[in-house]
Assembly symmetry: C2
Homo-oligomer: 684 residues x 2
Amino acid sequence: MSGSGDRAKDALLVFTPSGKRGHFPVGTPILQAARSLGVDIDSVCGGRAICGRCQVQLSEGTFAKHGVTSTADHLSPVSATEQRYAEKRALPPGRRLSCQARLMGDVVIDVPPESQVHKQVVRKRAEVRAIALDPVTRLYYVEVAEPDMHNPSGDLERLHAALAAQWNVTGLEADLHVVQALQKALRAGQWTVTVAVHHGNPPEGNRIVAVWPGFHDQIFGIACDIGSTTIAAHLCDLSTGEVVASAGLMNPQIRFGEDLMSRVSYVMMNPGGDAEMTAAVRDAVNTLLVQVTRDAGIDTSLVLEAVFVGNPIMHHLFLGIDPVELGGAPFALATSGAVNLRARELGLRMNHGARVYVLPCIAGHVGADAAAVVLSEGPHLQDENWLIVDVGTNAEIVLGNRQRLLACSSPTGPAFEGAQISSGQRAAPGAIERIRIDPETLEPRFRVIGCDLWSDEPGFDAAVETTGVTGICGSGIIEAVAEMFLAGIVSQDGVIEGALAARTPRIEPQGRTFSYLIKDGEPEIRITQNDIRQIQLAKAALYAGARLLMDTMGIDQVDRITLAGAFGSHIDVKHAMVLGMIPDCRLERVSSAGNAAGTGARIALLNGGARREIETVVGRIEKIETALEPRFQEHFVAAMAFPHKTAPYPHLAQVVALPASKAPSREDDGRTGRRRRSLDRRGV
Amino acid sequence: MSGSGDRAKDALLVFTPSGKRGHFPVGTPILQAARSLGVDIDSVCGGRAICGRCQVQLSEGTFAKHGVTSTADHLSPVSATEQRYAEKRALPPGRRLSCQARLMGDVVIDVPPESQVHKQVVRKRAEVRAIALDPVTRLYYVEVAEPDMHNPSGDLERLHAALAAQWNVTGLEADLHVVQALQKALRAGQWTVTVAVHHGNPPEGNRIVAVWPGFHDQIFGIACDIGSTTIAAHLCDLSTGEVVASAGLMNPQIRFGEDLMSRVSYVMMNPGGDAEMTAAVRDAVNTLLVQVTRDAGIDTSLVLEAVFVGNPIMHHLFLGIDPVELGGAPFALATSGAVNLRARELGLRMNHGARVYVLPCIAGHVGADAAAVVLSEGPHLQDENWLIVDVGTNAEIVLGNRQRLLACSSPTGPAFEGAQISSGQRAAPGAIERIRIDPETLEPRFRVIGCDLWSDEPGFDAAVETTGVTGICGSGIIEAVAEMFLAGIVSQDGVIEGALAARTPRIEPQGRTFSYLIKDGEPEIRITQNDIRQIQLAKAALYAGARLLMDTMGIDQVDRITLAGAFGSHIDVKHAMVLGMIPDCRLERVSSAGNAAGTGARIALLNGGARREIETVVGRIEKIETALEPRFQEHFVAAMAFPHKTAPYPHLAQVVALPASKAPSREDDGRTGRRRRSLDRRGV
């Protein structure tokens, strides 16, 4: 860019949408001018008309705002090189390769989003920030000098020199397998290669992790959420940020124990059991790697990056760390920091030089999955008091804003997932997921997963003939209990009103208590008094955790609530609030985030800065240990009632007519005492 | 250390031998005062009276020089802790633990050499610099905070905090296996552990590579010289620098080809042959690792560092790099830089976190072994023109001084190692290694390896009865040919004088030429005309390489010559000069350095700064490619004669009566022509 000197041979160049502008000598390549202005234009080939990443669009016309008339002849004609590219790879009309097009007169040049290095990756949900693409592993195409006997040097050293001269990338070391492959790649590529450089943070630094002969421009990464029950993987194109394939499967560790604590117990009882579970989860990840790469039609060797999230016990077992310390107080993590590794240290089927990043854990019960939820939602970037709840066997709860973030874990137990519920089952075709109870007739109607009809609609029986109606899943139980409460079948303190047996045969005595029949036949599906208790225990734990964070924050009301996780995305917000699972809030400010942990993993995959961001944020999150807080027990007891013994639900009351309040029975206190003792076992 | 303030409660502390001194408040621990003065005192336990590395000695008496009277009561009495140490580990009389002894009055404290971190490691040869101990991997004993549920953090993060607070060591990352082992180690050590930290250079950085419960103070390293023929390993104690065990074995790659080029040919002819040879050499190194650790009575897991040197082809094969590029022009190395690796990337039986360092190569024929020779001898640290020759199948030649260093490789062929010599054999018991020929009678007498008697001494026959006299090794051939020349049996141009058959039956015709019989019987040992030619070709190549470097340096005379390598340490300097293997030089300035490559590897093992030093020095060595220099051929032709066709040997002539000169015969020129063609094959 010329300054105030002779502008007779200079021309004005304006880039849109950035508005960056400057005068440059006639003949300057557009890409070179863009770089000197700091305009973000991508390139893998380094200006050789090979990669086509640097495409720009000439804006023709007179732009008063910019004081410029921009015409086609103000750019150099399409060069022979550019023509060859256009013939080979197709250049959309009006597009030019900015490495080839030269400035001939004043022009306005538009940089389309896909030509930016730091392009924005669109997310499905409008309320969350876009992901800025800035991957840690990048490709560089280089022309390497041939060896010279007069000035002997290693092929690697000449590659380093080329990267420094052509890309200004310095201070690199190379993985051994790259050194082993380099000589053949250089000769096969006639002294051109593309290398993948992993730009790690100190102390890891920048390393050449892969090499291909000639020009190569496809690399991928995988974002993986290792849940206790399911493992999900998303394969992303690291140059566009797009998800090109996704797959999930059951966590094979289930054969060692359904829930987390039973897996820890397995290790305690079976020396070496942790190694078995480590092998099982890594095998599963490899299965997913093979599946997503096959679905995308690529080789696993093109996967250069992986990001993993999971709860602390999954985190430890995946990394090959004995999880037994997490099974009892003081619940010490082996490491809470982010973990940087080579994929082959974990035996993963990726490129030999692929790198792995595992997000930091927040505390012994609040894992890398919770950190990923924070990264996905960004409570640390806004001013409202935002409550984020990731519901699972343990609920991970985050509350806060730009100034302050709190986190805790609450032992909800598996009831929300349909376990320990008499007719409970996993969310699968045939499971009841929606239910409504007529407060007059006390008759239920319901919908099952895999069928769009309600049970009282014509054709329902035929539609569910293959799946049957097999049980009730987590979200179905929430609705069932909430509807029973709203219909007066269940009292505020959680007792099924036996007196209603006079009104409907669906209320039936079972020992000293009563149950409510949803469906007869085979299987019979009913909600028992014990089921209600399980839900009360779970929701009270969840509420108490959230309330504890609100106390610590010094607030009585949250501004916004997000339910994360597969379960969170299926439950009906209103029913959840009727049960008092979550505190009162304006209903339109309560939403679900879907698999926010998986999204957080994908953000960390696509943006190196996001890794530093979440490491910093996790470092300043205040960790609250519910087991150490006497108030947690108080909140827990008070939260057994529907929606709560004392807390008001003004926003909920505006949309739902809640039954009148009455005092909790003695029986609840007895059960609460039992729960209090079992809390120490953390969700067993 | 107090400044100019109130000295009423201060006392003067003088350290010897450094002379560092200061006033400190009464009660200051001696170790703490030493640190503030920058006095080098070792400690692994960090001042907890566990390791005993910080021992000092009170100097009693009046020291006018220091203006101090130093008495025993000027130090605090032996503490209970110190007493316990003394009982458990034995403290020599007069020794105190400087972490426990406190300043009570003016004292002079002597720091014995073994208490210094950067202690000097004594070398056998007086003319070379001592090795300053400063290993890259160090031990740190730390007390780690127990986990606290109120302030949850990972065990690793508390370890990092302890290292920062107790040792000021920060910016660390930990190897995965350390994270996996940490929790059990911390609990077994009751919240104390010793960690090994590898202080790598950027971009590798500092990493925790090993962890032991409680206090641990023994780690080792191995320095390994991978030769084409033999592999030698030295196990060193990284806290003292001492060699605690050494072992060597034949390079098992010999089964793929005796010399380097036949091994490269094997790869060319057998795809995958490089992998076989890589496996063979790594297996051999593992065998040596097991052997030296067993000899030292330690576990292989205590070996934390390894340094390797070798010629370029050994370097490549050991690292798993196809060496074929080194088999032909332009002889491109895959990498010429130093290589930093984890030992397990090479499958070595060491600690799981052990690190490997491979010295840089100088050029395609001048390897990491030559770099190690430079590091051992230090020509870059002095002003004389020093010629260093490492004789093997290729001779690696270095010439220079502080200002300028030159290096080349010269294809001597295997004659110096006894190969392609009619009665030649490897240096082994039974091989003739010394020989003298009476110029009057032309009768030889000789000595064989494994026997101290000369063949004309009484009892010789009995002494060699088990081994026999089996052949003639490299140093024996040098002496035989030199003695034949000095006795007039061989002319200056290398022809065995058939006319002498009249004087002795030892001169016998063989076809058109003659041979000289050293020993009859079984086997008959003789020097043939062809043997003389092989030696002429080898020594002419060696001389021509040295002379080429002298030309480039612009000198006619070197100040000093060192012969490195196993062969170099066995040959007689005078005989080597009589043959004209090396240029003329004052004989007392010609010496052998033994296994200088192995010593260089040991220096790099014990001193991290030495690694940076040799990397820098190698970068500025000027590499001369003999095959590209027309003068090399001229020098080669002229050097066929004994000692040389034209170059004078004034220093040699002062001690040896050389036969009168005469012109070379036509036959030499013919043979030289053949040699010239074969030079391109680089030592085949």
